[in-house]
């Protein structure tokens, strides 16, 4: 029983950074921008969050500086990909490499450590205990006592769904992704829509980084995003950007991540258990493409209904 509760708790925790990053990535997905810089945005966000929290002693400043780090990375991406019209793929790769090298460099320069930086001065995100529920056995253990960002994230998923499918901005965003010339022709500047989409993805990826370094754990480690930005990209493509689909896929990934951790205490070597979430992603992509092939006619109509 305890093991199961542990597994479910770690599912939620591991799902949050994937979910946040992929919610950000849906904006660029719908704007038809190939945003592979999520990994870098997340990593920089995680680093600046630790910086902010450590030097100010406040988790609020930690959150704000984490978001600022994500936005800063997104801003670079915007300038290059939207206004200088560079290749999105190359720009994204460059930013990811910059993020990895840059955070590692500053980690060593500022804190004079290699690998990981931990300190009691890094103030983590506070946990929320839900009144009443926290006292119910099992349910309390399952639902209460997570870092508060976990709860916020699930709310955000619903809001993003509304933002993309029910608002003026959403209508324009999706139109931009389909045909930006047509959008320009009705007097909307598609470049601005694209910039907003990238900045929104930076905001959410920064927040994902905050959760990694101040919520999931309480430290900064070199390359701590560890492929989560890429997993998020796969999740977006798998669900074709539907926020509620993202929620499901992120939980699935979180489950396998947790499963990997749980299996570490068994005879399986840890290198293999760490592979579990990534193998799950590959498997999901495989089954997805097979399903798509099977119902090709249908899926085409479906995508037209977006």
């Amino acid at each position: 029983m305890n093991l199961l509760i542990e597994l479910i708790r770690s599912t939620f925790l591991a799902a949050v950074p994937i979910l946040l990053a992929s919610l950000g990535g849906t904006y660029t997905y719908y704007a038809d921008i190939f945003n592979i810089a999520m990994e870098g945005m997340m990593l920089i966000g995680a680093f600046t969050a630790v910086l902010g929290s450590f030097f100010s002693g406040s988790w609020v400043i930690g959150i704000l500086s984490g978001i600022a780090g994500g936005l800063f990375t997104a801003l670079i991406f915007t300038v290059f990909a939207v206004y200088l019209k560079t290749d999105e793929f190359v720009t994204g790769i460059a930013l990811n490499l910059f993020a990895l090298g840059g955070t590692t460099y500053f980690l060593r320069q500022i804190f004079s450590v290699k690998g990981a930086f931990t300190s009691s001065k890094i103030i983590p995100l506070p946990d929320w205990n839900i009144p009443i529920i926290e006292n119910i056995p099992v349910l309390g253990e399952l639902l209460s006592g997570y870092p508060f960002l976990v709860y916020i994230t699930f709310l955000i998923a619903v809001l993003v769904e509304i933002h993309i499918f029910k608002t003026k901005f959403g209508l324009r965003l999706r139109a931009t992704g389909e045909d930006d010339a047509a959008v320009d022709s009705v007097g909307i500047k598609s470049d601005i829509i694209k910039s907003k989409a990238i900045l929104l993805s930076g905001f959410y990826c920064g927040l994902a980084g905050v959760f990694l370094s101040l919520g999931y754990v309480n430290l900064f480690a070199e390359n701590m995003s560890n492929g989560r930005g890429w997993i998020s990209l796969a999740v977006i493509i798998l669900t074709r950007g539907r926020p509620l689909g993202l929620l499901f896929m992120a939980l699935l990934f979180g489950f396998f991540d947790g499963l990997g951790l749980a299996l570490q205490n068994t005879f399986i070597p840890s290198q293999f258990t760490q592979m579990v979430p990534y193998l799950a992603t590959l498997a999901a992509l495989f089954f997805y493409s097979r399903e798509k092939k099977k119902s090709k006619g249908e899926s085409k109509n479906e995508s037209m209904a977006v």
């Binding site: 209508l171 324009r172 022709s185 009705v186 909307i188 006619g297 209904a305």
Partner: protein, 511 residues
């Protein structure tokens, strides 16, 4: 009587470094009239409209809207001032509904910028009814016909309540019936007091529709005429600067043996849609067989099956009784000339020189192009071939080594057609050989096609231009949903009948 709504004074537009697209044009558009602006491709009519509409900046000159000096820096400002434009290529979001496309850009919103649909849906529905547009609010653009998409474009402008509608070659994509429908609608809009600017190079349509006609040539305004007692010849003379023959003269065909035949050709795409539905046809030596049809009814697949870019599910294709449908493309090309519809991507390599473009396909087939060794091309042979081609097909160019993209569309096409016509006298496959060309080049190419026929070539002509099909074909087939549904003698039918077949009428439906 009518007030000037737009007036333009000595407007100049130069595309850097030195292309003068609009050269000091003065023009007055009066309200409540249909004003046609005609000219050949490159005459500057589209550029002129783009400047008025704020899509591109003018170099010099003045524009007055309602007697007020105005300058639009983007289309939104033009729309706000009551001027809207329907572009040649539609500006619609393919996976959005009709309704979403109409409101995009002027979305009504409530709290938190959440879309408020009720009222606007009602308004759009009212407009559809008022103008008898026959559209469904929630149809996806991708699933409706081109004519319906054009109606959505017009609806977009009506929703924004524009006073002046600019239509850039609106009839290019429509069937004769649909054109009639459009013209009725435009006349209704005019009668309500709106102003319509109609850009075209089709003279019949202009004469049929407009009140005032402005003719442009090489960036200059030649004249503005009232549409009274004008003839096609008058307009053409003004447009081109010389007399033009409209219907290319040809003698009666004397078809001989069957050269090319297709039998029972079938092809289904991945969605299971029959794009070629048991097609059989023959072309004899010395005849031109035309294929009419609304785009997307299997023409493209037919052409691709013949040339070998697509493998049909079943059926035979023969040239001179030899089956070619199992041959590779190069072996097929030894038997046929092929002018593709896409001049830029299929017909030529835009960045390469005239020489390189001239010897394409020849370089694999023509022994004169290789020297003593088979695999090394002879530069002299290539140059000689190019010279011959440029002379014979009157390609206007500065040098053989300039890239083909620096030529005008008409000259590019002359080179491509010339290259192909020097390749084969046997069977010629033409897919919209004069699409988008100036009148002079159209005339030239059509005459060459007839010359080829008279020399005994079998010609299969797929075209979206009914004038061309009627002018050239000795037999006219109609393709609809992958089936050949009519086989007519062009001298014994008319555009209306062919148009009805194109829309899918059964034989006998038409009276």
């Amino acid at each position: 009587m009518a007030d000037p709504i737009i007036s333009i004074k000595s407007l100049l537009k130069i595309y850097p470094p030195s292309t003068v697209a609009v050269d000091g044009v003065d023009l007055v558009i009066n309200s409540g009239q249909i004003h046609a602006v005609i000219g050949e491709n490159g005459a500057g009519k589209s550029t002129l409209m783009k400047v008025i509409y704020g899509l591109t900046a003018k170099t010099d000159g003045e524009i007055y809207i309602n007697n007020k000096k105005t300058h639009f820096s983007n289309p939104q400002e033009a729309v706000n001032a009551g001027i809207g434009m329907v572009h040649q290529e539609f500006m619609l979001i393919p996976n959005y509904t009709v309704y979403e496309n109409v409101i995009l850009g002027t979305e009504p919103v409530g709290r938190f910028n959440i879309l408020k649909k009720e009222q606007s849906r009602k308004k759009v529905r009212q407009l559809i009814e008022e103008y008898n547009l026959n559209l469904q609010l929630d149809s996806i653009i991708n699933n409706i016909s081109v004519a319906a998409q054009q109606k959505v474009e017009i609806l977009k402008l009506l929703y924004r309540d524009v006073n002046v509608l600019i239509l850039d070659e609106p009839t290019a994509v429509l069937t004769p019936q649909e054109i009639e429908d459009l013209f009725m609608r435009l006349k209704k809009l005019r009668d309500e007091g709106r102003t319509i600017i109609f850009i075209s190079h089709k003279l019949d349509e202009v004469l049929d529709l407009s009140d005032i006609i402005t003719v442009m040539r090489k960036g200059k305004k030649i004249t503005t005429l009232e549409n009274k007692n004008l003839s096609k010849a008058d307009l053409a003379r003004a447009m081109i600067g010389r007399d033009v023959v409209f219907t290319v003269k040809k003698d009666k065909a004397s078809p001989k043996d069957v050269v090319f035949s297709v039998s029972n050709l079938k092809y289904k795409n991945e969605q299971g849609i029959k794009l070629l539905d048991n097609i059989s046809l023959e072309v004899r030596a010395g005849e031109i067989v035309g294929v009419a049809g609304i785009e997307g009814n299997g023409q493209y697949e037919l052409v691709r099956s013949i040339i070998g870019l697509l493998t049909p599910d079943s059926g035979e294709i023969k040239i001179n009784d030899k089956r070619i449908d199992k041959l590779n493309i190069l072996d097929r090309r030894k038997e046929m000339a092929y002018v593709p519809q896409d001049r830029k991507n299929t017909g030529s390599a835009q960045e390469l020189s005239l020489v390189d473009n001239s010897i394409m396909t020849h370089h694999r087939i023509n022994k004169n192009l290789s020297g003593a060794r088979d695999y090394i091309l002879s530069r002299r042979g290539a140059r000689d071939l190019t010279d011959k081609l440029i002379n014979k097909f009157e390609v206007i160019s500065e040098s053989k080594s300039q890239p083909i993209k620096s030529l005008s569309g008409g000259n590019q096409q002359r080179l491509i057609v010339g290259r192909e016509f020097m390749l084969s006298d046997n069977f010629i496959l033409l897919d919209n050989p004069t699409r988008g060309l100036d009148v002079g080049s159209i005339e030239f190419i059509q005459l060459e096609i007839i010359k080829k026929r008279d020399q005994g070539a079998a010609v299969l002509l797929i075209s979206a231009d009914l004038d061309e099909l009627f002018g050239l074909s000795d037999r006219l087939l109609v393709i609809h949903e992958g089936k050949i549904i009519a086989d007519k003698d062009p001298t014994k039918t008319n555009k209306e009948e062919i148009g009805a077949y194109m829309l899918g009428a059964e034989a006998g439906d038409y009276r």
